[in-house]
Each structure stands twice: as structure tokens, then as C-alpha cells.
Assembly symmetry: D2
């Protein structure tokens, strides 16, 4: 194979879209201690900017309360949640939904936790609720802050599970009422939609027509992206087929393609959810395959959209009821008890990448910082289910790079694969315990740490050759640190046992 010659001048900055936002279980879960511990860990090692989830207006957050004929907008829990997010550097990406029972026109619910998905009985009451929530948030956090929070109207209204009848006209009415209520509070607040699921690109043109014709405010558009096929159910889990990673990038790009030439062309595009599988009980989320598969998506998605939000940062999540096993195929980057999954490390590796892109290929991304540190993210390229069954990828994959450096370098490599940095593999060896003991949890945490190797490379003619052999489903981060040795006159490792030349 040929060696890739990495150029010495950057092609541009590394876009931050990959870390702009991350998904979360419903807002009520943000009150939990394990959730907050998980979020703090994610922020420390990755550092997302926004967080988005369902349930801001659902009954279990208690925003709309009535008693003895008195209506009261209540923020007992909302304040706790938003306080806790801001404390660790996360801003809310607000999703307005689902419907409070007191306002709902019907009883249809979605998820185990029963989010009501029917239109409001009164659009005026809904608008009053929206205004009350935003005014409270501005009172508490300041307009300057709140105007940086995108406000999405509802979730996947094109699906009957999420919006009664998937009634497009009804959604447009809701969108209009909501967007106008938002702007009533302050014109600088950012509102957007239509938060489509995959497979609903036929909504773009009507949406653009509707808002243009009625001059309805739209500050951004959003949709979701998943690459999995139908669920094949087993007890407490599902299996699914997968399209290749490019399918996700194609979904990312769809809004821009479909809105070209409309009044909405050029608006910010947010992929406000994405993942491989859209199921919270598909074990694929726990694997190294998931990380290697998504590596080119994270490396390239920033060319297409303003943000793409991994659904979700942790397994504290109850859409399909309460998980019955530590590893259960949850969406999370972290399991309950904060065990890092391979995809967590993909994100943590991205967070260590240099600021400027030197090179990008099918199996690598090379960046550099101003201080000369070069970072290489490399992965085994994977297609989807057409490649064969799980584990059929080649046992190794080679990446060979020639990298420009200003001096000799220290080389630090971290690896996640089927055998390294992989707590799921260790968990299987330990008998797949559903309720692991403290001792097993400790082992899993240890097993989740990426393997680390380090060495030194001597620069020749201003470059070093980096030859990487990756294991199955491996994602690896290599850092090259320019070295200027300190002086230690007299030091001589050969004399450590007292047997060199005596001083």
C-alpha cells in the first residue's frame, strides 16, 4: 500500500459541528444523580456545547399545574435541570413538547413514560405556556444567554407515534403559533423546525412554502438521521441491519439539498439526533464496530451541517422501560454506572484533535495545533450489514502516513478495538452479569480505558513515518509531540546499576 504524504500546510480549521450538541433522555431524568455524574464526566472528557432531549413540557416536569381552579406555571424542576446543565457548561437546545395533559386534546402517548402527542386543545393556551416558559428562563438566566439557545418546535411530527396522525397541516399550525409566541417574548430568540425523522424529505418543500407564504419566523431547520433497518425483536433487545456510514452523511446533507432555491436556503441546519440504530435496546451501540463505523461521520459531518447531535450521551433513558442489564444496547456513550463505551472514546479522541486539518482520508484524519502537536485519528473502514456478519471485518488494517514535524517527536497512541478499551468485551467474558457487583464494575471501568502505547520517533528531513496496524473495529488516536530535551549533564541510564564509568 502507498504511504499518504501529509501536507505541511492546513486545509482549514476542524469544524466543531461534531461537539455542538448531544442528545439526552427526557428532561426529568436530568434530575438524577447518575445522570448528572455521567454528564459531568462527558463534559470533562469531551465537552459538548448544547444538550437536547424530550419532555420539557410533559407532566413529569410539572411546568403546567392546576389546583382548585388556579393555573400555575411551575419551574421547580426546570430550574434544577437547567442550573445543573449550565454548571457543567451545557446550554439547552430547547425542544418544545410534549403536550401537558391539562392542555392535550387527546390521550395518545409515546414511550413507556407516556409523552402525550396530541395537539393542544387551545393554541392560545399553548402560546401562553410557551411565553411563560421563555419569560421565566429569561428572568432567571438573562436574555443574552437565552437567545443563544435554539428552540425547536416538537419532535418528528412526520411520524404517527410522535404526532397524532402525523398531521402535517396540524403541525404547521402548531409551528406557527409557537414561533409567533417565541418572537412575542423577544425577537432575538431563535426558533426552528420541523425536526423530521429520516424518510420525510417530502416535508421540506411544503414547510418552506408554508412559512414563506405566511411570513412565519424560522431561524434554523432541523432533522434526524439514523442508518438502521427494521427491528428484529428478541427478549429485551432488537437486532437491525445497517446501511453504510455514507448514508448518514447523505441524510445530513438532505435539508440543504431540498431547501436550495427556497426562502429557507442558507439557514443553519441542525441534525438534532443521529446514531446508527434508532432503538435504545440494540446491542450495536455498545460495540467497537459502532465507533469505527461512526468515525468517518464525525470526521466529515462538519462539512455538511452546523451540528449533529449523538443520541444520547448516557444510558439513563427510559423510552423502552427501565433497562434490565448493565449493557443492554442503550444509546448512551456511557452505561449506567458510567462505564465508557467505545463510541465514548471516539468522541474523546475527537476532543483531543488539533485545531487545523492537515489531511483527511477514508481511514484517517490528521490535524495540528499551533504549538506543533500533530494528531492522527485512524480507523478501520466499515460498510454496513452488506460487509458480512459482525466480526467479519479483516483482523487488521494498515494506515501509513508521512508527517511533517519540526523536530523529533514523542508518539502516544491510544486504541479502542474488539479487545482494547472495550468494557463490553470484558463484560461478556465475565458472564454478562446484568447487575454487576462493585468488583466487576471496577474491572469494567479499568477495561474501558483505551490501550496506551508510547515511543519516540527521530525526524528525518523534516518528517517522520508513522506506520499503524489497527485491529478489528479499531479506532486509534495518535499524538506526535515535538520534543526539546532538557539538559541533565552526567545522567547516563547505562549506569543505573552502578556499573558504567564511575564519575
Amino acid at each position: 500500500m502507498n504511504r499518504v504524504l501529509v501536507p505541511s500546510s492546513p486545509v482549514g480549521p476542524l469544524p466543531s459541528a461534531w461537539r455542538e450538541c448531544v442528545g439526552t433522555g427526557r428532561m426529568n431524568l436530568a434530575l438524577r444523580a447518575d445522570y448528572q455524574e455521567s454528564a459531568a464526566l462527558v463534559q470533562q472528557e469531551i465537552g459538548f456545547r448544547y444538550v437536547r432531549g424530550h419532555g420539557l413540557l410533559s407532566d413529569d416536569l410539572g411546568v403546567l399545574r392546576e389546583s382548585q381552579g388556579v393555573t400555575r406555571y411551575t419551574f421547580t424542576y426546570v430550574d434544577q435541570v437547567v442550573d445543573s446543565w449550565l454548571r457543567i457548561g451545557l446550554k439547552p437546545f430547547l425542544e418544545l413538547g410534549f403536550m401537558p395533559s391539562a392542555l392535550a386534546s387527546g390521550n395518545q402517548t409515546v414511550f413507556w413514560w407516556q409523552g402525550n402527542v396530541t395537539p393542544p386543545r387551545s393554541h392560545d393556551d399553548w402560546a401562553a405556556l410557551v411565553r411563560a416558559v421563555l419569560r421565566h428562563l429569561i428572568d432567571r438566566y438573562g436574555l443574552e444567554e437565552v437567545r443563544t439557545w435554539p428552540i425547536e418546535v416538537w419532535n418528528e411530527p412526520n411520524l404517527t407515534q410522535f404526532w397524532q396522525g402525523a398531521d402535517r397541516a396540524a403541525y404547521f399550525r402548531l409551528y406557527e403559533a409557537t414561533a409567533r409566541a417565541v418572537k412575542d417574548v423577544d425577537a432575538s430568540l431563535q426558533v426552528g423546525g420541523p425536526v423530521l425523522s429520516p424518510g420525510a424529505d417530502d416535508w421540506w418543500a411544503p414547510f418552506a412554502d408554508f412559512v414563506a407564504s405566511r411570513d412565519v419566523p424560522v431561524d434554523f431547520v432541523s432533522r434526524h438521521a439514523y442508518s438502521s433497518g427494521p427491528a428484529q425483536h428478541v427478549p429485551f433487545g432488537v437486532y437491525q441491519t445497517f446501511e453504510p456510514p455514507q448514508a448518514l452523511l447523505d441524510q445530513f446533507d438532505a435539508p440543504r439539498r431540498h431547501l436550495a432555491g427556497t426562502a429557507l436556503a442558507g439557514l443553519p441546519v441542525h441534525i438534532s439526533e443521529f446514531n446508527t440504530s434508532y432503538r435504545p435496546d440494540n446491542p450495536i451501540h455498545d460495540t467497537a464496530w459502532n465507533a469505527a463505523y461512526l468515525a468517518p461521520v464525525l470526521a466529515g459531518g462538519g462539512d455538511l451541517v452546523d451540528s449533529f447531535s449523538y443520541w444520547t450521551f448516557c444510558d439513563v433513558f427510559e423510552e423502552e422501560n427501565i433497562p434490565t442489564s448493565l449493557f443492554h444496547g442503550g444509546f448512551g456513550l456511557l452505561t449506567h454506572r458510567q462505564v465508557r463505551k467505545p463510541t465514548f472514546h471516539l468522541y474523546a479522541f475527537m476532543a483531543r484533535m488539533g485545531a487545523s486539518v492537515l489531511a483527511r482520508g477514508d481511514d484517517h484524519l490528521v490535524c495540528r495545533d499551533d504549538d506543533g502537536r500533530v494528531t492522527v485519528l485512524a480507523w478501520q473502514p466499515l460498510g454496513g450489514s452488506d460487509d458480512g456478519p459482525y466480526g467479519s471485518a479483516p483482523a487488521t488494517h494498515e494506515v501509513r502516513l508521512r508527517i511533517p514535524v519540526p523536530s523529533d517527536v514523542a508518539v502516544v497512541r491510544r486504541s479502542v478495538s474488539e479487545t482494547e478499551g472495550n468494557a463490553w468485551t470484558a463484560w461478556r467474558e465475565l458472564g454478562r452479569p446484568r447487575n454487576p457487583s462493585a468488583r466487576v464494575l471496577d474491572l469494567l471501568h479499568d477495561a474501558s480505558v483505551p490501550a496506551l502505547r508510547h515511543s519516540a520517533l527521530v525526524a528525518v528531513d523534516g518528517h517522520v513515518d508513522l506506520d499503524l496496524v489497527l485491529g478489528r473495529h479499531e479506532v486509534t488516536l495518535v499524538e506526535l509531540l515535538p520534543v526539546t530535551p532538557d539538559e541533565h549533564p552526567g545522567l547516563d541510564d547505562a549506569r543505573l546499576l552502578g556499573q558504567g564509568v564511575v564519575g
Copy 2:
């Protein structure tokens, strides 16, 4: 008024029944960060031994799960809850209930969070569930530990809200099935009931007859105690009348009176819930009156029962939906955001009392430690509603004691009353903000600290005279610390401005 002459020899140890157990919102809430923060604070400043609440078997803890025909006992959340309790020194006082939907024979529920209160469809499946839970707990925490956890069967089966039809025979069947299942797991586990609400003393004799006639295991008996009348509803709250404190002590004593002469005579008696009001939305819980009213109950209850468990330690509680205001009349010793209420301080004062009782009266309890420290808990005596409207207690109350001491003493007094150590009063002055800002929360925390005064008393003839003037609804703790001054030759406070005799 006469001076009380405190004797110099103890009449016995101060019983620990007041701190044996404390109540909690349903177990699912124990997963929350604010709950855990509150519990840690309570343990640090008070230190209860057990914690008891509802919902161990309810759907939102997920113990009984089914999927594709497979049943799975799940401990994802139970383990987190019990781990978190044990970490701060709290043992579970297990209450077996309510009914998992998958086992329920009907749809009747209690509370906003919908605990199912119908009998099991199958007593065998119920028994299997009980055995599975206990076996898991023993696997995880060890038999030696779990056998110290009392296991209560259901909650207030004498009320139709809590047990379909308040069907006594059905409860006895459930009790028998449960108690035998518990003993199947290990004969040393402690099981008990019938967890009666106030007003159900007619159940004692039949219960004793039933278990005696069928040789059903019973290791302890339990009931609840409240002294409030019917709810007078206002929006988001209620008012109620109250009997005098002695009514609570009479309720404590009822099991022993009613079981005298039966096979259950002599068993441990647990008051597994008590408070003034049984409503989570009666503002009385937030007041200094509540503390002063309960002071003689805490001081004297240990003569009557093995434990009496304040319902509950914090306002993280949802039986009547999500609270709409920081102060809302919740049961908690602490509000959301961990503001200490006056009754919190009553408990914290009790936690500072000496080990041996020297004297006890209508308005005082005097204890002493082996190291000579004397502690005085004093309070303004209150009756119930017959005393007059709130605030009609005399503005002051005097307590005069002659206390034996081994030397001069330092005197440290802490006070909670309508004006001191009273965040609720400060909150009213601040306009009763339902969603206080961070600044106001800080002020409330500061206002919640008991007023502290200190002085020195010179011993005369082996005693000091302590004259206390209490304010309205005051509870006060006075510590007398024997002092042996250290030597500081040359030190002379008169010279602090350099103007005494020059050395």
C-alpha cells in the same frame, strides 16, 4: 416560677428510638441528585439509622420486567438506591409494595405517581418476586447485613386508598404469603406488619389471632401516627386542625396496649410513619410551631416504642404531584434546594444531646455525656388547635434550671423560633418567591442557621443557674462545657491597645 433542680445522677440512657428511622419519598426518587444531597446533609447533621419509603415493587423501579414472554427480575435501580443509602450510613427499612402492574389483579392506584394497590393475581408469583428480591439483596449485601433490615408487608391496608376495599382478610392472606416467602429465603430475616394508619386499632386483635392460629411468622409490629384533622383545601395546599402532642404519644403506645396478653405482646413496635399532618401540602410542616410541638414527642417517644420515623426527611416527594413552590408544606425536614426547616433543627439538636438523661419535664430535657458536657433541650409547650390561632402562643416562655457542673462552664445556646433559625419567615419577608433565584436561596440558607449565643458561667457550690427566656414557638439547645483554662502568662486583654502596665 420555680427553678427546676436537675439531679446529678442520670436516670438512664437517652433512648435512640427518635433517630432509628426516617421516612422518604418513593424509592425511585432516591435516584435523584437533590435527594441524595439532602440525605447526605441529614446524615451528617442528624444521623438516622434506617430509611423507609414506598414503591420498592412499583413499576417505576422496574423490578419485575417482561419481554417477549421472558420474565426478568431487575435490580438496575434498586442497587443504585440501596448502594446510595448504605454509602451514607442508612439501612433500608423495607416496605414490600406496591403491586407491579404485571402482577396486579386490578387497576386501582394511589397517589399522583400511581402505585397499584390491588392484590396480586397470583400469591405464588408474588411470593416468587419477594424471594427473588431478598435473594438478590443477600447476594449483593450479605446475609449478615440484610437480616438487620426490617421487612414490612404493604402499607396502611386498613385504608381503601392503599389496599383495594381495605379488605382485612385479603391483607392477612397477603401477609401470610409474604412472611412465609421471607422465611423461605432465610429464617433470620425479620418480617412484620400490619402497618396500620391511625384509627385502625380494631385490627390488632384479629391480626394477633390470625398469625397465632396459623403460626405465621411475625418479628415486629408497626403502625403510623398523625395528629391532624380533615383537610381544608385551598389552591396547592390544605389547612388542618391538630390534637395536642400527647395524642401522638398515645398513638405510639396503642400497639403495646392492644397486644397485651396476645401472642404478639413483647414484640418490637415500630411507628413506621409519624408527623403532625398527614398531608404533603400543609404549610404547618414549614413552621417553628411544628418543631416546638414535636419536641416533647421526640423527648418522650423512646419510652414507648422502638422507633418512630418522621415522615419525611426531605421535600423530594410527589404523592400530590410536583411541588409548585419552594415552601409548599411538604413533609421534609429540608426543602428542595436543601433549606433546613425548624423541625430539621429539632432533630439536629437531639443529635447533640448527651448520652444520659438527667431530667425531663414539660418544657425541657437535660442530658449529660461522660466527659461532663451537659445539654439542655428546651421548648415552648404547645397544645393543638384548641390553644388558639397560629401565633397566639405567648410571646415568651421561661425555663429556669439549676444544673450540677464540675467546674466553670462555657455556655453555647442555639435557637429556632418564629424569628431565628427560620428560613420560612425570611421567605415570607422576601415575597414568598415560588422559584427563588440563586441569591435568594443563599439568603434562605443563611437565615436557616439557628441563632447562636455564647457566654461563660461561674460554678457556685457545684452548680450553675441557667435562666432561659424562649421566644414564640422556640426550641433551643444549650450546651454547658466544663472549662479548664490554658495558661497564657503575660496575656492581659486590658493591654490590647497598648495602654496597660508595660511589661
Copy 3:
């Protein structure tokens, strides 16, 4: 007495000079856990911007090391110290001194910890050391950061204890060599002197002449201020007389007066040390008198200088050997074990003052924030020793203010006096234990909290009347918070015992 009519428009912003800088024990002590705990507490409740102390170049920080003929500039400890300061928001106010033994021309030392106070054997070697230190700091912390750190040359060279022979010419030579070395590293670094003790105003003119005539860089000037007389020794302590507080303000103002008309006129002036007594063993530092005495200095000093730095923030300090008693008259705002002294609270009160000054008088300072919060700092005015012996101040002092407010207000008052917020008084009552037990330390911490009182005032014609009666040596902070009550329809405190009109 007349009521002060506080105007409704600010006279200007409250200067920040009082919190610009604080003093510290020698830099080696900054490695200690209790020091770091104290500093964190001070930063949390007060929030200084810079910290200044001795010993950067002394042997116990190890900067200049030699072995087998090899010289090595070492930053093992310096990095730890500066890292720890920056972590809590403190920047170094660098003092270059004292002399490393390896560079010293003599053996004269100052303090128990033996700082060498002799000139360098070689000004070239000294300059090399200065450059090495600054280059390392810039490497580690960045030039942008380091250029905000004032760099002072030596300490009190006008005293023979601190500079061999108090040799002015030798100091000027050292100043020139140092200032040029600093600017060699980067012209934007700020260097200054001559760091005079009180009583050396005759140095200003020669210093100005010297630097002007030789074009020596000077970016700021600095001196120290103390108002105490000679030490009257007792075992492990001293007493001293004191001039009135105005004497400190006069010392603050001296540099500007003496440099008027010179080339140094208009330069920033830093009082890089000040306190009542210059002794670390005068019990006056532990008293409420010290706080009340300094209140007008903190309130007014910012009119005169750019910073005035309280010497020191905590009692971790060893100039007169290791303290033998918890309270021992140390300089600190905090004792060992982090007990807050009255003067700590004076600073914490200042940190809560509003941003704009409404009024200032002999016994009060009134400020307001943009959000309408009004703050009043009031104190009993004290002279120095001429007022009489300690404790001879009047038992009370009244302050009466008419304050403009936009609405009714909540009033929160915090007090420190001879009896309140005064751990030193409690310590004396407890027998002045030199090595207090954990229990006594807990009591002292509790006793150190300012007494808090709260109430509500109704606005009449746009103002409220605030009548304050202060105790002996009291400093008090009053906050007036505008109140807009939340609605709670149905709530009626008269019904708390269930006896009002039934709803």
C-alpha cells in the same frame, strides 16, 4: 441625632482597590494544605485579585540550585505555588527577594525562617536569575498573563533588618539591575519599587531622581502602611499603641504627595502591605476592634491608591517562629484551622457591597446595584489608643439613614462585634485552649458566623428609614432587597392551625 438622607443618584463606582491584593506568608508556605484551604475559603467569600508575599528566591523555594559545579534554575515548588494560586483566581504580585545563599554576599538574615538580606555577590548573576525566573513563568503561563503581574524589587530596603545597612545606594543599584533584567525579558512586564516601610518618605525624592537621571524603568511605586507603636513584649506576644485610622490613609496618600512634580508623578501606587500592627503576635488582629477600626480605611482607601494589601490573609505564617496557640495575634483574616476573624467579615461584607456609591460618612458606606439592591456598611467609629483602654468604646452606637427604594424591601442584617460573629470571644470563654479539640474547633467555627437578623420594611414616599443600633466595636452589613411578592391565592397564615374560615 440627625438622620442621614441618602441621595438617590450614585456619586460614582465603588473602587476595587480594597480587594486588588492581599498579603501572604512566605511562598514556601503556599505549598501547605491548610494554606490552600484557607486561600480557597478567602477567594470564595471575598475574592482578591492578587497575592503578595516574601521568599520567591529564598533557599526554601529552591529556585537556584547547584550540584557538582552545575547550576540549575529549578521550579519544582514555584510551579506548584503559582498553579495553586491561579486555580483559585489569584494572580502573583511578584516580590523579587530574598537572596539565595549561593548568590549572597553576606550571612545576615531576617525572620525565624532566615531570609538572606544581603546584596548579590554579582549583579550579573542576579540579573540572570531574574531573567530565568521570568522566562520560565512566561513559558508556563504565557506572556499575556505574566505581563499583568506587578514585579516589585525587594522589600523595605530602608530597614536594616531587610536590607543590609539599609544602604540606599546599594538598593538603587539592585533596583536598576533588576528593572533592566525584567525589561530584557519583555518590555511589557511591569516593574516597580521601592517598597518602603512607614517612616521612609525621605526616600521618594532620591528614588525619583535616580531613576529619572539614569532612565531606569519604573511602572509603579509601592510602600507599606502600619499604624502601631513599639512592641511591648510579653511571653509569645506583644502589645502596642495605635494611631487613629486616618494615619493609615495619610500613609496611603504619601507617595502621591511626595512624587508630585517628579517624573514618577501619576504612576500607579500600590500599598503592598498594610495593617494595624506590624507584628504577627499582637492579639489586636484577632479582635472586633481591628475590624471596626479598619472599616473607614477600606471604605475610603480606594480614593487614594490603586491597591492596599491586607497583611495577611491567614495565620499560616512563621516570621516569629511557629505559633503556639490557635489565637496568637497573627496577621491572618483566618486562624489556623480556618476560623474567620472579625476582620475577615469586614472584607466579606465589602465583597457584598453594591457597585455604585450612594453615600459615605464617618460611620457608614451606602452602595447600590443596578438591580436595586442597596447595601449599607456601618461601623462604630474608633480612634486609636488615645480613646482609652480596650473595651472603653461606648456600648452602643446609632446610625440612622433615610434610603431611597423602588418598592417595599426585605432587610437582612449581619453583625460582628464583641459578642456576635466573634470566635475570639468564644475562645476566651472556652478557656483560651492553645490546641483546641475537634469539638471546640467546631464551636469556634459556629461562633465565627455573623449574627443574622431579617425583617421587612414598607416603602413610604419612595424611601425607608433604617435605624441601626450597633454594639461595641460592631461592623454591620445591611442589605435591602426590593420585593415583588409572588401570588399564592388562598394562602392565609392565620389558618395554619386549621381555625380560620374554612375554604
Copy 4:
């Protein structure tokens, strides 16, 4: 090579002598934040029982203070140190020394920090000091606690550096005065000596004779053990030759051999210091060689003595002045900034060993816990300098074991060698930075984590075969955990990409 057949029955418990005690820099350093952070880490991952160091009575702890003719025993710092140790589960192993200046008969000092090593001017004053210290400790911590603290008299009196003239008779006088003073305070306190350095076995007989003839109390005996030759100096460091590990075990055993037949036979023996090199600036302490060399000493030392105390737990240590580089050959298990050295991991591995010994050999120790977990500690056997220069050990070493197990096992292996779990190697690759940046420190912490590998082994005929290939200077810990798989009906990893048989 042959396979070792590990028996299925234990030969006895694993002695705890290896963790009974650990050494520390002088007590004053225990006040430091980095010291306390290091100690907490060591206790968390290893868990020693006692800690021993110099300087309890030296001036920089301030125990003996005088002022204006008043003598004061001071515990300002001692209390802080002992409080901090006990808080993390460390008890003091008290060493009485060195001499306070105020009591010293001469000026001779040892170390950069100048411990005075001369006899007391007055044995009465010395005895008074000893009694005052012990009485204070008993007052503060209780007699029950203090009587568990061994009390050693002085340090290495057989060396002229540590005891003026290495005067044996003078030491015996000091020992007698001290031991009697200790017993004056309480007969149950444990006192011992003579704390010999290596090469002083000729002191045993005279010591036994002396104490026997005068009936002087002795509760234990102690000595030190080191296996290095003379220092070969280079700038800021030394090199030395080493005897084989057996030399250390021989030194451990010497007291028992020499005291056989004397009155002191049978007393507890403490090796109150040991290490390879006795120099705090020999880089050997930072290497994997040091860990592999000491592995058989830790595995076997407990057969010979009651404790052997590694000198020291961290590099916060100043006997040879302030270290000039992160890695500098310090004694510590941890560097400054808490980087774990290979020998740290040897101890951490020992802390994970099972309770009972199954087998021990030249290159392995096999233990088992009651719950069936088997642990294997294996190492490359090393001699001393006679083996050849550093790095001349074979590149690999094989250990083959047949281990009895109750079921299939999960296998978790952790390795430390020249390339794995070795921050020193990474530091060299990074250019040996003396003052590493925050980024480099992070890398070193990551590089210090032992490499972890995991797999599963199927039991055949009640055993598994464990074949280990060790790298150069490797120490490895292998845990075998019996596995009982949980049931997950329907789960099939082959279907992860959705391509198995559809359910």
C-alpha cells in the same frame, strides 16, 4: 520449562507485614497539600497501616518553644499532621527525634533541613518533653488508640551522621531515659529500638545486655535494610551497585538471628526502613527494575519480620535539598504531582492479592480468596549489579502455571515493565522535562497506568493453564475470576449486524 502445579489447598494466610508500615519525609512535610494528596492516593490504592518519618521533635514542627523565659509545649503542627494521617487510615509509628535546638548539647546537624543529632543537654528535660508529647497525644486521640502506636527511640544511632560520634553508650542512656519516660505516661505504651542502619549487627548483643541488666522496657526491636553500595556522584544524582534481593531478606532476618537466646528473643521485629538504594537521588527508584527486584522481597518478607516499611511513599522529601526535576531518583512510590512509579504498582498489585497463599516460587506468588478469586503475582527474577548493566536482563521471561478453579474463569492481567505502566520511560521519550507542563503531566499519568489485558479460560478437569510471557523487568498481576454466566435468552452476537436468523 516445567509447568508449576499450584495446589488446591492454601499453605496459610498471606502475611500483612508488607503493608504494615511505610516511610515518609520529615513530619513537617506532612503539612503540605501535595503530600496529603499523595498519601490519600496511596491509601486508596494500597492501604498501609502505619507511617514513620523523622522530625517529630525538630524545630520546624515547633513542639518545644520558649519566649521571655516561658517554655511551652506546642502542638499546632503535630495535631494537624496526626489528624491528617488518621483521617486517611494511617496511624503514626512514632520516632522520637531529632533534638530541639533548645535542648541540644551541640550544633551537629544532618540533612539539608538540619536535624540536630546531638544528645540532650539534660536527660530530665528530654524526658519531660517525651512525657508532654505522649500525654498530649493521649488527651487528643485517647489511650486506646495511642497504645497501638510503636514508639521508636531515635534513628540509626550507629551512624555518626545521625548520632554524634555514633556513641553507643550515649544512645543506651538516651534509650533508657526515653523508655522510662514513655512508661511513666502509661505502662501499656510500646517502646523500642535501637533502629540500626545496615552493618551494625554488633550492636544487638550489647543492646540486649544493657536493657536486660538494667531492666529497661523494650516492647519491640527495629532496624533498617538497604542493598546498595557507595554513592557514585553525578550532578543532582548518584549511581550505586546493588546486591541481590536476598541480601534484603537476610538483613530482615538479622535481628532474630542475633537476638536468639537473649532476653529480647521473640519480641516483634520491625524493619522500620528499607529500599534498594539509601539515596534520595538515585534514579533506580524510578524504574521497573526496582519493582521487579523487590517483588520477591514483598512476597517473602512477611515470613521473617512483623513489618518492613518502604522508604518512602512519595517524593515530597528534602534530605538532599529540594528536587530539581520531576523524576530525580527520589524514594517515593509517587513523584511530585502524584505520578505512580513502577514500584507503586508492585504495592498496588500486592494489595489486590487473595488472602491465602496457594504457592510461592522464585518468580511467582499465587493466592486465593474465599470467594474463589485466584491472584497471581509474577515477575522477572533479577539479581543485583552482578547480572550486568541496566537493561541486560532477558527480553522475556516465561511463567507457566496450572491453577485449580471451580469453574470457567475470566482472566484480567495488569503489567508493568520497561514499556508498560511506566511513566519514567514516557518521560525520557518526552525529553526528560524537569518542570513538565500540565499537558505532559497528563500524559505521564496516563502512561503510568499498568497495561490491562483480559480474556476467558475454560476449566478442564478443575483447572486452567496460565501461560505468561513477561517483558523486561516486568511485574504482572493476574486475577482469575470464576464466572457463572447470567441468562440472556435470544441474545446472539452473530446477529449484531442484523444478519443472523430473524426472530
